[in-house]
Symmetry: D2
Amino acid sequence: MGHNIDSSLFNIRTDLAIEEIKDEDKNTVVEKKQNGNINITSVVIDQKNKDLYNKKEGTYITIEFTDATDYNNKKEIEKVLEEELKLMLNKLKISDEAKCLIIGLGNEKSTPDSLGPLSINKIIVTNHFFELGINVEEGFRSTAAFNPGVMGQTGLETSDIVFAVVKEVKPDFLIVIDALKASSIDRINKTVQITDAGINPGSGIGNNRKEISKDVLNIPVIAIGIPTVVDTVTIVNDTFNYITNNFSYMKNNIDEPKEKLKIIRTNIDKNNVNEEDKKQLFGLIGNLNDEEIKSLINEVLIPLGYNMIVTPKEIDFEIEKLSDIIGNGINNALHKKVTEL
Amino acid sequence: MGHNIDSSLFNIRTDLAIEEIKDEDKNTVVEKKQNGNINITSVVIDQKNKDLYNKKEGTYITIEFTDATDYNNKKEIEKVLEEELKLMLNKLKISDEAKCLIIGLGNEKSTPDSLGPLSINKIIVTNHFFELGINVEEGFRSTAAFNPGVMGQTGLETSDIVFAVVKEVKPDFLIVIDALKASSIDRINKTVQITDAGINPGSGIGNNRKEISKDVLNIPVIAIGIPTVVDTVTIVNDTFNYITNNFSYMKNNIDEPKEKLKIIRTNIDKNNVNEEDKKQLFGLIGNLNDEEIKSLINEVLIPLGYNMIVTPKEIDFEIEKLSDIIGNGINNALHKKVTEL
Amino acid sequence: MGHNIDSSLFNIRTDLAIEEIKDEDKNTVVEKKQNGNINITSVVIDQKNKDLYNKKEGTYITIEFTDATDYNNKKEIEKVLEEELKLMLNKLKISDEAKCLIIGLGNEKSTPDSLGPLSINKIIVTNHFFELGINVEEGFRSTAAFNPGVMGQTGLETSDIVFAVVKEVKPDFLIVIDALKASSIDRINKTVQITDAGINPGSGIGNNRKEISKDVLNIPVIAIGIPTVVDTVTIVNDTFNYITNNFSYMKNNIDEPKEKLKIIRTNIDKNNVNEEDKKQLFGLIGNLNDEEIKSLINEVLIPLGYNMIVTPKEIDFEIEKLSDIIGNGINNALHKKVTEL
Amino acid sequence: MGHNIDSSLFNIRTDLAIEEIKDEDKNTVVEKKQNGNINITSVVIDQKNKDLYNKKEGTYITIEFTDATDYNNKKEIEKVLEEELKLMLNKLKISDEAKCLIIGLGNEKSTPDSLGPLSINKIIVTNHFFELGINVEEGFRSTAAFNPGVMGQTGLETSDIVFAVVKEVKPDFLIVIDALKASSIDRINKTVQITDAGINPGSGIGNNRKEISKDVLNIPVIAIGIPTVVDTVTIVNDTFNYITNNFSYMKNNIDEPKEKLKIIRTNIDKNNVNEEDKKQLFGLIGNLNDEEIKSLINEVLIPLGYNMIVTPKEIDFEIEKLSDIIGNGINNALHKKVTEL
């Protein structure tokens, strides 16, 4: 998340590609997989649809899961992340010997923004052994890892530090880890996004020159992110849609109470609401679409100072497990020989 | 906040008395003071109105302020807290020599729940000097401080530990510090409540025997709390009311654009909405009152697992300053000789 | 280690029984076992020899190992600790259903003194499930865990808090974890001592009433300790003896350079020096025995303020692993069903 | 301190210039000042004597103080540090507008090595305001701050990261903060060294190319260091000398017991021992000079793995205050307008 000179600008940003893609976009969604309770969706944004989604060209892999603080879930998510990272390395034609620099964006002192630095703490680094001519067991590639800090602490543009270190270290590819902002309450701490489209630390600042991407650096950049925060506007809008869907469902199933609870959970898709029901339920407000409602709420809350960015109160425990997942997933994907300790 | 076997139970709880009191309750509000940007409200809940407000009998002092991470604000809040604590000590007829035990409720490992333990870290303790017969400078009373931990870490009811330690230490009075849950988004990290009515760690658990109060312990108990979290339901309901008020205002002031921004900020009182406007704006939903809307949202969100308890993303920096305020405020109120370091 | 009103008193204390016992005390040493690189020694101090060793009656099990930050070593130490704890439980006739309270002595904010609190963080607590009537899987006993803090933070005698909580919780037995002071540089972070003789938090304070033991509490007390600090006096005296032994060895093996390095490592036993060599080497000082040398150094260094208690510079990494070992060892010994996560 | 592939190499290093200089070197010591309990010594090492002292050319200012955890001491040390830094800036002809980059060497996760990163946390950064064209109050210069991490965490040579960031940021001068190794037990956590001679992160590695200095970077480099660790060899050798001096003193003053304690404290100068007394006291060992004794101890302890680098057990509390002193001292020296918060 990095710095935020003007935190209201945060609203412009939508970090997760999957939140922009509708299911009907058949030609965008490349693949959907399921692994136990984990859903994996790959979408490709290309020249033709990048403006439509306001996203950069690239492949976006989304891994959706439930509670990461559960031991078994955690192990499964780690395995899926490893596999998807390996597929991405293959797709990008990155060899087993290619040297990797891993960057942890964000502020270790701010729990919801500490995903990058905490993940870096778990990374196995080997580059110094290669540099010093120390014998490294086969099965390990050269890896280095680095936390550039945030502008509020360093007084420096995060991207500038990253560019400087890349120029010095000359890695063959980059992995960048960051905490993201979700535009949906059901994804917080429950989604990993992997993309080769690059990343923009402290985005919304309106400075495209500063993105960390292949376009800028001429080496592949894999960005790994987990949404850890959401804003008030999103919470309210999501709730409107959940209430409407609940209302629609109740109307249609009023006579079948038995199945109510079971179905309601799977049936709720807040991206697919009945517009008529919404109008009846929410009056004038119900006439507005999602974007209009968000704008309206923004207009009301921002002058009051209440469009907060929030994080679940359990964030300390969740970020601990999520950074473990990312650290282990990366270690296992990068080195053949790693047996996780 | 302590433990939460069933976090949905959290919703029953309303930690701040001021949120229950309407301005028209003339006989309840004892006093309103202002000190720079800081508002201080004292309310007394007695035999007659305790059921009305679902609050225990006692005096509730609410100190409302703005950004506590601002250096000057922080110094002023500290001073006000010190003064109000001294008034409370006077009111409870607690002498300068009375021995004090200070308890920090909550979980130091969970940022939004760490207010109690972090405040305890700042407390000056002197009891061991008195016990060991070491000469203590005049102007200091005997103080001890203690973190009982949370049930999820200890396997023990927090109140049981507190009772056991009180029985052993035999203080003349107790100060208990806890992070609270707000039922209003505009109070998070911006309100201190002081009360002599006692406190219920992990309340909502439905166990009145376990409250920490004068009734149970036979010594005065002063509880100091700051709301650090809020639930999704509250965020949505508050927003409904802000939108309605904004709508009402716009309708009435459509021709005076010049004054719009200035007035809108002060005019907004989400506890005082125009019911007709609300109906027009929100359709069927607009017909419901606050409690009904909250129940409805709860009914929809809880089965989905989305009635989260959230905290602002800046919580780490804010809790640091807030625990400083409480620690310094207590030190200065309890000891005549303290010049804050 | 707890508080230290007068840190010079620290010197009186010798926390490890094994450091007092000489090999010739055949009837004291009950058993010596070896498990890979790990040595396990059991000694029993009884009525007859307790004054000789200035130790309380009881069984003292010492587990000696090398680098605990090595993954494989760590796993083996954990296993040995589990086994020795189970033997101790058997010996003390503690049943599988007996309720256990685990206490972590020391100061979490002071790295070398944080062994107790850090270990407590790893403990699986179940007592609240038993208390609340929540169904607990078979294979788990009732456990609670608790950090009493240190006197400098609480203003309270640590033992008083422990006694109060024991009285309230009524466990069938106690486990107490503490960081110890070594009287030998080769044991720091490389030895676990388990004893049923109880423990004296902040000992040296000369207050026998305050010990935590079966004598005082009428339930079995198992103390688990690891030496994490050593004083300057010990470092100097140990070095005198190492130098002397090295000198003795060199004199005797001057003509066999080939075997020098190999033998010197195993041959060095600083508790067994040649007194003649010591005199030749160290002049007047060499005439003194260990206790006299220590007294002399103390007399010189204490007025200068240089009899420091020190800890290795890697303490943060070592204490992390050591607390893991203790937490896992206890969990596995107390619950049949635990498969470590 | 940075990385330590081979920690035995640590011994070669002597971080404090003052420990190399004898009082008789009249032409080296430029100035001695006293400020309350604080002693300030300036020495200049030039072309002629740099080999003698095995130190780089430059000015070395040593500030010697007592307990930094005392509030009043701390304030005074901060003031002296500020003054000496200002003198150094003047001497180096660094203007009030010159842009400064501050680097914190060391490992934040390792308490005795965390001085650099912890100090950086206290630094006021302003560079981003200058870069973004945000109006900065007069009295502030442009400052940026940065933690490069340690090789064991990053896989990168610390100096390489520093060089890369310097090249990107283009500061007018550099301040580098690091924890040092003392070669005297009485300096640990009680001395600040300021020098314009540069610094060598993880020195002893035998790689002169990697030093951070004006020679390499072509801008002034001010290094600020505090010794936080000492090795066993130094402790033992210092103790030998203290014992000898104590012995010499006792011999000469055997009949004046009254003045004993008072004089002994000031009279002890471990760098100035009576060689005859040393021989009598320590036999063969007493015939060796300091360097020979250190070599001997090294030879004995290193094969045993007992030449530990140690830190006082209170390191957590001391490093907290020391990093405060450095942070505040730098802020006050760099910006005219800072009034410390």
